[in-house]
Symmetry: C2
Subunit: 447 residues, 2 copies
């Protein structure tokens, strides 16, 4: 076997004079969307909104090479799901079921921690609170074709179920009619109410506006290509959406105590997604960075997706030598990564310093891939620095809250004076008078 | 005094044959934005992004007739806030402070109910949880000029404070340099870190991208005109935003037990916001609808904003006679109103039937206006039916969550097998190998 070609991974040090500029170049990623895609998507949305099923059928014939005569032929049944589940291997069945059980268990804790209604009465007997209710109907977009991920179906459907959503509608494109058995088996395990083999902007439009066949949903979640992302952004407001995902990212903070090949493989597991995925390693130990680089060179030729991994690492990856773990944590906060591995033998020393990340993986045994599939937490996470202000997909995304207020007669006397004062100050006299009418006056029979 | 002119409020009954069509006509409101506004906003955003302070100064001079030489002149100080607080009346000071105290108290309960970090260990010793942290810096848009609402400042700033956001940056346009004393006094009471007298799309751009003077924020909340709404939608992704608000709405479910003049004034208090605001009353008692109509006719001439109220009620309002309170609740769920008054002497009988609403006001004493100013819950609520999938502004909007995972050595043995099985099924071999490397193997020193 010949010596493997070195992977030309960008190497930076925070002590180098031009570090700031070099770091910004690594960070840079533009979410600007293509004008041509935007225009095309706007047309498809308008067309499906107006013509419904007929338009969906045409686009599915054209874009997915799947010409059928009626929408009925594009609907999957529970029997299809059960047949797929029967067709996969026992090990696959077991893995799907165990992953589902663990994801459900975690999201049930999430429901308990932050998804219950609450109320209290103040000293005047006024009731205040918040009622938490599930959405009525949600749509889940599951990519089809090459990058069909049954795990994504679990990560979207299970929290919806735990939230109590009664109706989960899946859309999954099947180019040329090719169905992914694992995806259908996952639908059987996770529980999907209805499913259609449609995709792209036309599927998003069908879910957002409803057609004669496809029911209108309240929210659409799940990943998709540029057309799907653009369509979701456009229908936002008519329905809820989860988030617009950018390329996937991992940041590893290493103190040098984890085997270098483990870390190299963790960087690969991000890089293998696609050329734009980003893998960054921060470490205060230069020799450890050398060791990881050597493992990268050694391991790459054995990977089936070596070309993608190389392109991703050389295009967007970096090994960064920091002055200290504390400095590494600061840089991590600036990046606000989607996945953050704290590959240290004292992860709880560093975790409190980490303010922004989609998911934090603590300690050498916690490879990102365990979290991706079955640890329990959701793998749908904020990308491109949006962890500064947003959160993993969760039960809370499938619920909404309504404030509850019941002002007592006594409470109305105190609150009425305050409200009237402020309302007059804002020039809203009807607001003020509505409050004043409740002062020292009992409700009387209307007639 | 001459007989007041009748207010021509649309009167519907669910028993009429064309009810569905008539109801849809009432419901219809289009959120489509003006292409000209969209284009103008895109230009302003790009310009501020590129030229920073210089662009903000130019737009402020042009759109707010406020020509100044430097951004320093557009910054408000804590001394400005304190002076405003000293300048208002004692009754206004007291009202602002009491409202703030009540809003803070409610949002502290919200923090306790759903805003705390949590974690647990499973049977293998694997730690799973979620870390909840405040955003670093938020921007609050406060409209200036005619519709300057100090109460909105409280409703945005207080939950941010309760969430623990260390830096709150306010922008408030001051056309021709005219400052609203109540707004500045509210900033003193609520606690605003920095403030700039800028507005429009240029203020949103300054907050989203940062300039030499205006710090870049992580999220922008608060209401604004069409330019502000369009700008917020465009910067979404670079920063977080709260929601895009449509016209304000109230739906009253009445069983006839509340004085008709109280209900009439509650409908007015929505209608007085603007001509597009919507006020709807649902009641199974036709005579009660007549009584409310009579009170509307009687009370309208005395209202300072009578013209706006009339235009709103005649353009978008409705009195709907239902077969029953149950049917009224069903219709309410279809509308998913921003404000929902259950004007009944048995409100807790109907509340469980109500699935979608921004805020639910229970019983005759709970006028919407008490909730708008000082009951405690937030008055920033989902409009235009978006209560089907979204929630009132709250502490949770100023926090984000990070998943926490620490897989134990034992846990890695179980999880590794499941993850590898699913990863191979998805064709992601690096994911699988990262999991397999942790099987039956201890971390060794790296060197």
């Amino acid at each position: 076997m010949s010596a493997p070609a070195r992977v030309n991974l960008r190497r930076l040090a925070t002590t180098q004079p031009d570090f700031e500029a070099a770091f910004r170049a690594v960070q840079h990623w533009s979410a600007e969307t293509d004008d041509a895609i935007e225009g095309r998507v706007a047309e498809i949305l308008a067309d499906v909104r107006q013509r419904g099923d007929a338009a969906v059928l045409e686009y599915t014939a054209r874009f997915d090479a799947l010409p059928v005569g009626s929408m009925g032929e594009l609907e999957l049944t529970q029997a299809d799901f059960a047949a797929a589940f029967a067709a996969i291997t026992p090990a696959q069945r077991d893995a799907l079921q165990q992953a589902t059980r663990r994801i459900r268990s975690y999201h049930e804790r999430q429901l308990d921690a932050c998804g219950r209604s609450w109320s209290y009465r103040d000293e005047d007997g006024t009731l205040l609170g918040q009622k938490v209710t599930p959405l009525d109907r949600v749509g889940i977009y599951v990519p089809g074709g090459k990058a069909a991920y049954p795990s994504s179906l679990l990560m979207n459907a299970v929290p919806a179920h735990v939230a109590g959503v009664p109706e989960i509608v899946m859309v999954v494109p099947t180019p040329k009619g090719e169905r992914n058995t694992l995806v259908l088996a996952a639908a059987h395990v996770a529980g999907v109410t209805r499913a259609f083999t449609i995709g792209g902007a036309q599927a998003v439009a069908a879910l957002a506006y409803g057609t004669a066949t496809v029911p209108q949903v309240d929210k659409i979640t799940g990943p998709g290509n540029a057309y799907v992302a653009s369509a979701k952004k456009r229908v936002f407001g008519t329905v809820g959406i989860d988030m617009i995902a950018g390329p996937s990212e991992i940041l590893v903070l290493a103190d040098g105590s984890t085997p270098a090949d483990w870390v190299a493989m963790d960087l690969f597991s991000q890089a293998e997604h696609d050329e734009l995925a980003q893998s960054i390693l921060l470490c205060p130990d230069a020799a450890y960075l050398d060791a990881v680089q050597a493992e990268i060179n050694r391991l790459l030729p054995g990977m089936p997706r070596a070309a993608i991994i190389r392109a991703s690492l050389e295009g967007r990856g970096a090994l960064i030598h920091t002055r200290s773990m504390e400095e590494a944590c600061e840089i991590s906060n600036r990046i606000a990564p989607e996945h953050l591995e704290v590959s240290s033998n004292e992860p709880h020393r560093w975790e409190p310093l980490l303010r922004h990340a989609g998911a934090i993986f603590l300690g050498a045994y916690t490879s990102e891939s365990l979290g991706d599939y079955c640890a329990g937490p959701n793998h749908v996470l904020p990308t491109s620095g949006t962890a500064r202000f947003s959160s993993p997909l969760g039960v809370y995304d499938f619920q909404k809250r309504s404030s509850l207020i019941e002002v007592s007669e006594q409470g109305a006397q105190t609150l009425g004076v305050i409200a009237a004062e402020l309302a007059y100050g804002e020039g809203l006299q009807a607001h003020a008078q509505a409050a004043e009418m409740r002062l020292a006056k009992k409700p009387r029979a209307a007639r």
